[in-house]
Symmetry: C2
Subunit: 555 residues, 2 copies
């Protein structure tokens, strides 16, 4: 601006001073303006940067009680208390099968003692875990309280409104979805199946109420008035029932309170009737698929990793590896090793992991399985020997073609005796003292199409499984020495388990005369089978505290 | 017998011969009897031993279609096809929010280019994962087919009848439970809430039909006749409605076809009406509780294990350990180490695991976490430094008091810049080409009671989490080099995630002038940041194949 003034016009001195003063004023103003603009700019930027629409706070401390829940709990109470005066006679053989929430820890009574009776009629043993664990504990009351607190927290975190009992009222004019409605977190869906079926009246009215979301409509129908659009409570009314019902086909639900896995209980009501249904709020189950190559024949190397743990038995481990390589030269073998003085275990497709000395059996299993990058993992013990009967394709086949997650094989001792170690496991409610765990020899069903295979809950320690599923269950690293069924107890409800007797691995001979044991063998047995008191204490703690059992019965 | 004959009586020789013959005959008969008894004994034993009641075979090949499902799918079709003639006007702003099962891979349009615009208004990038992965693949059609096959198998295995849409019919005289009914596998329950509410007639009749179980009654009510007791189809009828309804309060369901996690769809019908509801067949969620001792103050050593992975940065690892020990002298530190030439890392409460050279980042993370035996695990990178602001008790506190499974902290660079790296993640259905993954900076909500904490879907690599939950999600060992958000993508729907900005760990300085880098630093950077083409290919494969995404948009 200054240059413009001085270059263009010649003016008298007084006017020049005037102009100079004006120019100075204008410069000052400009500077002020510029400063103001700059400050405003910064202010706007700061405002934008720091002001994000503060979404409502969420209370994530406890999720079990909502106002809506109280409404329908009352209605269920009414529904089940009717007909008090009608007499009935208990049918004992059925009533006795009902869970009482008070399981009793009872062994079989010994009815007769024939030779071999335990072989033919395996006796059921009962083990009072609570007594066993608590009686040596310095402060049993505190432990009980601690377990109760941990369990309550666990239940609060696992609580899902989709598991609560709902009863559909009879003779209600309301039509609504009772299951199968799902919305991804913070997304919108149309609620299917809503309708009102009542006789003609001057006004037909319905209302919808939610807790974690709001309602709207994806299309508008004439002659229907709607209040509460975009709110948690929406009321629709119309003199025409067909218009109202058409409008109800466009009602949407938007989840607005974020939670990755919960449900919203919706009340759908008209003047004299109420119904309740659930909208699940979840991410859909994301798959974890493995690209093992598209081939007509099973490519065992691409599909399977063999996993094992070793301790003080490098000779047996070497025999195992040599036997695997006869039939599967390129399959990856993962070895977890907690020896005090680890030796190298090398070779193509061998992964050797060194752990702290004596870290333990299940820690090693969990480690080995955590490293597997193929669709299936085959567990073997380090003293197994592969033979021509160890046909892994059979295991892959049943896993590919059925809903099984894990399939056990058979282990053949040097005597010829072959074991599948099939067990069934069930849990019975026991109230606040803990539940009862029941383990029995046997299986549930044969499997159609697989004549040598059955469905069970636990199998022998030679099995192939879906890697993702086994990783999800895991081997509890707190179990340092002997453990086996604990994995299957943790797997209850998570793994669909089978057992095929025609996939056989051999067990290196255990028939060793005491005077011919090597020092290494003696050290191994001492380590594995000693410290039984500590071992028992750990097991009791796992069953009593971690799994919350008070009793275990087994054969 | 012979001695008796010869000792007691003196008889004539002919009679003696007779008696001898009789005795011989009797002896022969006895021997035959004895042999027969023995054979029968063995036969009975063998029969008992080998004859177990052969339970029906189970078909576990596919579980999606049942006869009952066809019945109610038809009814839902009817329910949603009514009112075709009523006109409507689409409400665009709502309709556009509905998932179309056809997500589009779209970046933001560049509307303006101010300096720092990406900082203030982070641009959304779109990445076509299917193109990126398939265009360099030798046989893209096979890969697509393989992925589709794997996904279909996954869906079949995950299918649960409890997820199928059901709609309650209006004006039905049937009352029945619509959710919340659960039976443990092979057990028996009373079905709650069944009733018939109709006007008086000569005979009131209801029927129940199941697929995986049978019906019975726990008590018998007079004047009610029942057909099909113990069968999959049971019919109850009575001239007295109150008697029928009292009887309905005692109806039991017994699961007879074993499956560890499924549901039976039950049809409950009367002459003119049908209703459908689900009985879940599941083991209840078995807890995995940790006995960390019952104390008033948080015992960090008993509650928390610190886990990390190290590679070529033993100096930084040592600084990390020293800094931890200033504040937490007895907390266990688990270290996964895939160096080519591992060095010893020793000290009390340190567990050092040696992996095959270069096995990788996420393999090491999965290993470390697989070894944790405390309730919580704290993840740290090997170049972090603990300070007085690294208050682990705050993290424990929010995990103890809320439903969060994982809480991230903040990482402070040497410049003073502190990052929480909060992101939100969502998945949009995309049909058979795959879904769309959307990652944005930011969070969902603030957390009531914890002023510096928010709920998000992904956080920075400094977090404390429930050990069991993190082990269940896992770190995919296929991700060898750079990876971070992949864990949170796998966690979607499984972990409730938070982030608190007031628990701060420092990051060892990364400001190193190029000419002052040590050989080790150069080797580290070369290893970590090189092979980016291979790295990108692995990432694309993981997103495209494993997670089945076709597109990823992010900021």
């Amino acid at each position: 601006m200054q240059s413009w003034l001085s270059s263009n016009v010649s003016v008298p001195r007084r006017k020049e001073r005037l102009y100079r003063r004006e120019a100075a004023t204008m410069r000052n103003s400009s500077r002020k303006c510029a400063r103001l603009a700059l400050l405003s700019g910064f202010f706007l930027v700061a405002l934008f940067y720091f002001w994000k629409p503060r979404s409502k706070e969420v209370d994530i401390s406890s999720r079990q009680d909502t106002p809506i829940k109280k409404l329908f709990t009352g209605k269920i109470g009414d529904a089940t208390n009717d007909y008090k005066d009608v007499p009935y006679h208990i049918k004992e053989e059925v009533a006795s099968r009902l869970a009482q929430n008070a399981c009793v820890c009872k062994a079989d009574e010994e009815t007769f003692h024939l030779p071999l009776s335990n072989l033919l009629f395996p006796h059921v043993w009962a083990h009072n875990l609570d007594q066993a664990f608590l009686e040596f504990h310095p402060d049993p009351e505190s432990v009980k309280q601690h377990r109760a607190d941990e369990y309550n927290n666990f239940k609060e975190r696992s609580y899902n409104p989709a598991d609560v009992l709902h009863v559909a009222e009879a003779n209600s004019p309301l039509q609504y979805p009772t299951q199968g409605v799902l919305v991804r977190p913070l997304k919108t869906i149309i609620i299917p199946g809503l309708a009102l079926k009542e006789e003609t009246r001057s006004v037909h009215m319905v209302s919808l109420t939610a807790t974690l979301g709001s309602f709207d409509v994806a299309a508008k129908v004439d002659m229907v008035s709607i209040q509460g659009v975009g709110e948690k409570n929406m009321v629709l009314s119309s003199p025409l029932l067909s218009a109202l019902n058409k409008q109800l086909q466009f009602v949407t639900y938007t989840n607005i309170v974020f939670h990755p896995k919960t449900a919203d209980t919706i009340q759908f009501a008209t003047k004299d009737h109420q119904s309740f249904f659930t909208i699940k709020i979840e991410h859909r189950n994301n798959p974890k698929l493995y690209n093992s190559g598209y081939q007509t024949e099973y490519n065992i190397t691409a599909l399977v990793t063999i996993a094992t743990k070793t301790f003080l038995r490098y000779d047996k481990l070497k025999d195992l590896i040599d036997s695997i390589r006869k039939y599967y030269p390129t399959v990856t073998i993962v070895i977890a090793d907690d020896n005090e003085h680890p030796q190298p275990v090398t070779g193509p497709h061998i992964e050797h992991y060194i752990m702290p000395f004596g870290k333990g059996w299940f820690a090693g299993r969990n480690l080995a399985v955590s490293q597997v990058t193929t669709k299936y993992v085959l567990w073997v013990d380090d003293d197994f020997i592969f033979t021509a009967n160890t046909k892994l394709k059979k295991m892959v086949d049943i896993l590919e073609k059925t809903t099984l997650d894990l399939v056990g094989g058979a282990v053949r001792e040097v005597t010829g005796y072959t074991a599948t170690y099939r067990h069934t496991i069930s849990v019975e409610d026991g109230g606040k003292e803990g539940d009862c765990l029941h383990i029995r020899l046997g299986y549930h069903h044969a499997i159609k199409g697989f004549p040598n295979c059955v469905v069970a809950d636990a199998v022998i320690n030679f099995f192939m499984a879906r890697t993702v599923k086994v990783q999800q269950v895991g081997f509890d690293p707190r179990l340092a020495r002997q453990a086996h069924l604990e994995f299957f107890i943790d797997a209850l409800g998570h793994l669909h388990i089978g057992s095929c007797s025609d996939v056989i691995v051999s067990h290196a001979s255990k028939i060793i005369l005491p005077w011919s044991k090597t020092d290494v063998q003696k050290a191994y047995e001492k380590f594995r089978y000693s410290s039984s008191a500590t071992n028992a204490k750990t097991h009791n703690e796992i069953f009593y505290f971690k799994n919350r059992f008070k009793c275990m019965t087994s054969q």
